[in-house]
Amino acid sequence: MDLAPGSKGKLMSAQKSIRKPRIPMSHRGKRPRFFSTSGTDELMSMVLELTAELWVVKKRLYLLERVAGQAGVPLTPQIEAYELNEGEVAELDERRRLLISTVLRSLEVDPVERGRMREEMETMGSPAEAAERVA
């Protein structure tokens, strides 16, 4: 088993899985609101997407530790000492960006709703003004 840093085959398949699909991921139309407090519906989507992503990672780590152990590789110290190359940094940047946009997807599915939320935020004032109020 090739567990060397920057193994090209593994990198290629990872990149292939994060290309943007041509099939739309979101359905057309407005999402219903189940909660009366503004933003709670979006928070629910975020929590559920986060939990899904967390589970994916937990299972991956579980497998990783077992596969490495089987291969006689003491994984933990190697992870601590590992230095990412430029390509790997770029790939992780992209993966992190995708994770964030998935968790926050409920803010983007409906342009009408998004417009309404932006108005609400604007009526709350600029961050500087808000900071002054808090102070």
């Binding site: 899985s17 699909p21 099939i23 739309p24 991921m25 219903p32 189940f34 989507s45 997407e49 991956r60």
Partner: protein, 390 residues
């Protein structure tokens, strides 16, 4: 654990994609089993007594229960999680299908099966105007020439949606109803069987397995579905033909079929189309033939809470025709199309795949017994069906 689909059009998710699909399947199971049970308890212990105190009576229908539940915190969380899980079903399969689209197209061209596509057919508005049950692209959108994306999305998403409760090939409904006919009517030997609104043919193929001498045909309005269905049938070695056709206007001569079947189809249709399909079913059936629809049970036979529970899809899941259909008198729908009232049939059945045959057979003779498990996806679900003999 979700297994791969067991036919030649299966697409392989990465390990992380499969893990995500398993998460969504588990989330659905949690909300439809555990949370559903708590929500019912919540209703019975608090909401119902409060309603009775305020009105001097119990809620008379699903809408009244729905109104009473609106402000319940538990109902809001249940709905929010269920709605998000529905979106996440599609989000968990679309990237996999998308990545394999060209390859799927090539596989279908190589093994097309028996398929007739009709480029002149107008896909009806109830399919094109909304993304039915939150499925991006609805049942019909194509992304390349001769595309099978609608079939692949449907097949893979229902696999996640069903959380292993609808048969290995999501074909339990087909097995349940074809074997119901075989066991309930041992002297009935259908030679020509039609499945209307068949999507990927997952419930069409069991009819060919149960009645190997019959010629079985599946129709759907979506070209992307029938292309996929035909190739899928071919990979199972079953000579079933699939045609792009609208069930409201069948291109078959009078008296062509012994059985006209549909499953989970009527609730996607506007009432006028249901009526048109029933008239067409009557026309193409031979005398002595059977019209049989697997569907959600009718509201007029359910308790108020069960009506509300099943109608959730109509309120929130982009299934606008679901409740209007369930509010109908199913017997009246049949008689309006020409069927005699005394020839009406209905059944509530356990899942054939998960039930020993003797127990399944015993359930047939019981007649239709409605309960809270009827039509409700879970481990003890019972399927409902109705129709009439011509």
């Amino acid at each position: 654990m979700l297994k791969d689909l067991s036919h030649d059009l299966r697409v392989s998710p990465t390990r992380d994609e499969r893990t995500r699909q398993e998460f969504v399947a588990s989330l659905r199971k949690h909300v439809l089993a555990d949370m559903a049970a708590s929500m019912r308890a919540n209703y019975e212990q608090r909401v119902l007594p409060a309603f009775e105190r305020a009105h001097g009576r119990a809620p008379k229908d699903g809408d009244e229960v729905h109104d009473a539940m609106q402000d319940e915190r538990y109902f809001r969380f249940y709905s929010s999680i269920r709605y998000n899980a529905q979106e996440m079903v599609f989000r968990s399969v679309i990237p996999v299908v998308d990545r394999n689209l060209e390859d799927l197209g090539a596989r279908v061209r190589q093994q097309p099966g028996k398929v007739v596509v009709n480029p002149d057919l107008k896909v009806p508005n109830n399919v094109t105007n909304i993304d039915v049950h939150l499925s991006p692209g609805s049942y019909h959108s194509e992304y390349q020439p001769d595309d099978v994306a609608p079939g692949a999305i449907y097949d893979n998403s229902i696999h996640v949606f069903a959380f292993n409760q609808m048969g290995r090939n999501i074909d339990d409904i087909g097995h349940t109803f074809s074997n119901f006919v075989r066991l309930a009517c041992p002297d009935f030997h259908p030679r020509a069987i039609l499945d209307a609104g068949c999507t990927v043919g997952h419930n069409t193929l069991p009819w060919a397995q149960t009645f190997p001498d019959a010629e079985v045909t599946g129709i759907d309005v979506s070209a992307g579905l029938v292309r996929y269905a035909a190739s899928r049938a071919r990979s199972f070695g079953l000579p079933v033909r699939f045609m792009q056709m609208n069930a409201t206007s069948l291109a078959f001569p009078d008296q062509s079929f012994d059985v006209v079947f549909s499953s989970m189809f009527l609730h996607e249709l506007p009432l006028k189309d249901i009526r048109a399909f029933f008239r067409e079913a009557y026309r193409v059936l031979k005398p002595g033939g059977l019209f049989l629809n697997m569907e959600l049970p009718p509201n007029n036979r359910m308790q108020a809470y069960d009506r509300f529970y099943l109608d959730w899809d109509s309120y929130y899941n982009k299934e606008p025709w679901y409740k209007p259909f369930r509010d109908q008198d199913y017997l009246q729908l049949c008689t309006a199309a020409g069927f005699a009232p005394e020839r009406f049939v209905e059944a509530v059945l356990p899942r054939y795949t998960y039930t020993p045959e003797d127990k399944f057979k015993a359930c047939i003779t019981q007649g239709a017994q409605f309960g809270s498990r009827t039509g409700r996806l879970g481990e003890e679900i019972e399927w409902y069906g109705f129709g009439a003999w011509k």
